[in-house]
């Protein structure tokens, strides 16, 4: 457990991880064109503005894919296998897709989910809604 990879915020992403610690999904919204940026970075890949504000988003999304890992790729996860990892498209923008765990045994593409932040350090766990 102790050798699990922990989040390593970089100089662009620290506010994202502060949001996770505060129990909020926060993203950069471009001040130039209004698009959300993902992953966190200084420049907008649509309008090339360097201006953005960090805002809380709904935390709602839809599972667009999932995998169930059986092989131990990192020893730190050997007690977890098999475990499910999901890819979630957030409601705010359809080209932003995030990785996380799922708080349900049976993932289904199209399942509606909400991000909660659990554990120490806190990480995204997607919970089925509706």
């Amino acid at each position: 457990m102790s050798d699990r990879p922990v989040p390593h915020p970089d100089r662009d992403s620290a506010p994202y991880w502060e949001g996770v610690s505060a129990g909020e999904l926060r993203l950069q919204r471009c001040s130039g064109c209004g698009a959300y940026r993902w992953p966190a970075r200084a420049i907008c890949n649509r309008c090339h503005s360097f201006q953005a504000e960090w805002v809380a988003v709904s935390g709602l999304g839809t599972i667009i894919s999932w995998v169930r890992t059986h092989q131990v790729f990192m020893r730190a996860f050997q007690d977890d296998v098999p475990y499910v990892t999901v890819e979630v498209q957030i409601d705010e923008q359809d080209d932003i897709r995030m990785i996380g765990r799922l708080a349900a045994p049976a993932p289904v593409i199209g399942m509606r989910v909400r991000a909660l932040f659990e554990g120490d350090p806190p990480l995204t766990v997607w919970h089925p809604v509706g």
Binding site: R4, P5, V6, P7, H8, P9, D10, D12, S13, A35, Y36, R37, W38, P39, A40, R41, N45, R46, I64, S65, W66, V67, R68, T69, H70, Q71, V72, F73, M74, R75, A76, F77, D80, P82, Y83, T85, E87, Q93, D95, I96, R97, M98, I99, G100, R101, I109, P121, L123, T124
Partner: protein
């Protein structure tokens, strides 16, 4: 076009090391063995080499060290590109540009890896790749290429009705090809039932959906088409080379699930050569995992989007089919040299030296790099023999 790369350069020599799970030697030794084999194949004196090029992901010796070991005293061209399988065909394409531009005369391109005994891609023996995306993935135990490709595969399969039957057809077909290849690591034919019975690695991938992790090197000698005609082997002309990319699997602005970066690049590739997909006689398609073959069959235009599985199941991609694919057994069964044994097999087919797996009359071959899902870039070559 100000400068036409088509047909200016050729592959004049190809060299392999043995493929194994534990080479017992350094990547420097692997590189120099493959390079010497390529030079011997071409009949070129090592003293004539003036260019060297490779790509690495922190898993192999730098090309400058290999240049020194080869005794190249006056290097005119070098590349030590950071990148994985998406860069493989690009390294050869860039060498073609270098010789076409007259920067160098004889460029040896290679990839040397102890990908089983030293630096496994699976994340067990090496640090994760330096990327701004890793921080959002590694804490979840999502670190290895099979996980990333499995995520692509699950969405692709759902969207287009592709099933394990289709993935299995890729594995079974390529193993049958490998059974005809004395160089292949896995030569015993498999049935679909054996495919189904292989253990889960990452659902939807079973063990037999995944490429082999291999210790090996492959080297390719690139020179002008004119110089190649004076060497020992029938020249393999580089009809076209293409580079593509711009989105990774994780960044916004990515293509829709199940479409790779090859889709936007392929028209440029065929355009440079003045060819169309139907002109290709044999294709080496980057097969790190089975669905990568299906997705690229579609994205390079050999069948319609979503039809790669049915196309493969029909037998079209088998030896004797309309579009033989990965005749050496590919990364799934011959060995995994990160894109490079595809180039070597394409050359073998175009020279008519592929033995029992020879595609009769093969004149045009496609060789592709990783389709971009992890590294965010891709590349490909169109090659012609018999000129």
């Amino acid at each position: 076009m100000a400068f036409d790369l088509a047909d200016k350069a050729a592959i004049a020599g190809v060299g392999y090391t043995e493929f194994s799970k534990n080479s017992g030697v350094s990547t420097l030794t692997l590189a120099t063995r493959a390079i010497m084999a390529a030079l011997q194949d071409a009949g070129l004196d090592p003293a004539r080499l003036d260019g060297i090029a490779t790509h690495r992901v922190g898993d192999s010796i730098p090309s400058s060290v290999v240049a020194q070991a080869m005794g190249i005293r006056d290097l005119h061209y070098f590349v030590d590109h950071f990148g994985g399988g998406g860069s493989s065909q690009a390294v050869v394409g860039q060498a073609a540009m270098a010789v076409a531009a007259g920067v160098a005369d004889y460029v040896v391109c290679y990839r040397a890896i102890n990908a089983r005994s030293e630096f496994r891609m699976g994340g067990t023996g090496r640090p994760t790749v330096d990327s701004i995306e890793t921080q959002y993935q590694a804490p979840y135990g999502y670190v290895a290429p099979p996980q990333q490709y499995a995520m692509v595969a699950q969405a692709y399969m759902q969207r287009y009705g592709v099933t394990e039957r289709h993935l299995g057809a890729v594995a079974v077909t390529q193993r049958r090809h490998a059974s005809l290849n004395p160089h292949a690591l896995m030569r015993t034919p498999i049935t679909y039932e054996e495919y189904l019975a292989s253990r889960w690695v990452v659902e939807p991938f079973r063990l037999l959906d995944c490429c082999l992790e291999t210790d090996a090197a492959v080297a390719v000698l690139v020179c002008s088409a004119e110089r190649a005609r004076d060497l020992k082997q029938p020249p393999v002309t580089i009809r076209a080379a293409a580079w593509g990319g711009g989105q990774t699997l994780f960044s916004n602005q990515q293509p829709p699930p199940g479409t790779s970066l090859a889709a936007q690049m392929a028209p440029r590739l065929f355009g440079m050569a003045g060819l169309k997909p139907a002109d290709v006689d044999v294709a080496m398609i980057y097969d790190c995992f089975t669905p990568a073959v299906l997705i690229q069959l579609e994205d390079y235009g050999f069948c319609a989007k979503g039809e790669g599985g049915a196309f493969t199941l029909s037998g079209a991609t088998a030896l004797g089919g309309s579009m033989p694919v990965n005749t050496h057994g590919g990364f799934l069964s011959e060995g995994y040299v990160h894109g490079w044994n595809h180039i070597a097999e394409a050359a073998a087919q175009l020279r008519g030296q592929a033995g029992d797996r020879q595609v009769t009359g093969a004149r045009i071959a496609l060789s592709t790099g990783a389709p971009g899902y992890v590294g965010g870039v891709t590349s490909a070559l169109l090659l012609e023999g018999g000129s």
